[in-house]
Subunit: 232 residues, 2 copies
């Protein structure tokens, strides 16, 4: 099931989203080099704000290293995390003039920051760049749709199982996973409470589906079982 959530990964996709080559073509490489030139490298320590709700949305970012959370705090204290961004991910590409969410460093983060104006000029000259950004937005849209399914119709067990598989997929791809974010971050990402996240992880551990050597390290013991937990 988690496959169907629309986690489109990082494959190249075409103008309106058809499948493209898995490896960046030379045109795409040119585009990325050109992009690099107009970007600014920035460092943030853990929990530092990268931008705030209400800021002018006149730039966007690419994660070089570390983890970013894009989130929103409601008046009564409820918090929602829209997405986690890891090395290579884009964030802050918004449709409005103002930020609706804030972005914060989870751990030590290095990002590249791009001005909208400069990017637009560059896109006019470089069709490859326009395509890369279009694809990125389209992938993000697919991911967002997958998350509405998860939040709308999945149980706590399924949410946590899908989260773990997503993290194994996007991060380590080995049997050992290091989670940079806190239990609270995970809860706010999955629409659960911290207690439910803990209990569900403990349940998976008790069932020998995962190991939890330290709080932020997950060992994958039984992938089949985890995938089965996403099915029904």
């Amino acid at each position: 099931m988690y496959r169907q959530l629309g986690n489109a990964g990082h494959r190249g996709v075409g103008v309106l989203g058809h499948d493209g080559p898995a490896i960046a073509s030379s045109g795409q490489l040119d585009a990325l080099v050109a992009l690099e030139r107009i970007g600014t490298r920035l460092k943030f320590p853990p929990n530092h704000e990268i931008y705030a709700e209400g800021d002018r949305a006149d730039c966007w970012y690419k994660v070089i290293s570390g983890t970013v959370r894009v989130c929103k705090l409601l008046a009564d204290g409820r918090r929602h995390i829209g997405e986690f961004c890891f090395s290579g991910d884009y964030f802050g590409i918004d449709s409005g003039a103002e930020r609706l969410y804030s972005a914060e460093a989870v751990d030590d983060v290095i990002v590249m920051r791009f001005e909208r104006k400069a990017t637009e000029r560059l896109m006019d000259q470089n069709a490859g760049l326009a395509r890369i950004l279009r694809d990125a937005v389209l992938r993000e849209l697919t991911n967002a749709h997958g998350r509405t399914l998860l939040l709308g119709r999945m149980t706590a067990l399924e949410r946590v199982a899908i989260f773990l598989l997503e993290m194994f997929e996007r991060r380590d791809r080995t049997k050992i996973l290091d989670l940079p974010m806190s239990r609270n971050d995970i809860a706010d990402y999955l629409g659960l409470t911290i207690e439910t996240v803990c209990r569900t992880l403990s349940a998976f551990k008790r069932a020998a589906v995962i190991g939890i050597p330290t709080a932020h390290r997950i060992e994958l013991l039984d992938r089949e079982a985890l995938e089965a937990a996403c099915e029904a």
Copy 2:
């Protein structure tokens, strides 16, 4: 609060999403005329499938009239509705080669269907069209993010209140709202059960916030109260 959910409405937005003119420029009109020429007009009766999960995603659509639901059925019968599309909305712009969701007519629907290939050719010649589609996708992304917040952190009461305000906004903009979709559709859109949707609507009716002359007609009696219900 429902304002902040990112329902970006139908304002024009720029290349990377900056605010643009509210009225289509002449370039945009040209683009839409050119687009019209490569589209095919199609009619569907209520509950007819427009495309199915797993179909090749080689085209996309624009709603001319009626209401479309984009949805997904899970193996165990749970259903999730990703979005409702009304006159003027686009749907079926996907990032993958295959449909992850199906699209169905809610009532009598007329759509315009566009082939991906033809659209790509047209976009190469017509920068205005490329911009229109980019903006549409960016707006959809903002909406999807708003829906993850709704599904992840809002109570049943808040979800229904936000839904009603969204519908008043997107559809009638008067005091009377005709809902084309069933209670079941609403439930699957809001991540609730049909009973909870009914009960919540009844509660709003009892509190004289809305009137329900017939099951599919909602009368807005106290907008303030409905907006207040979204806040906390």
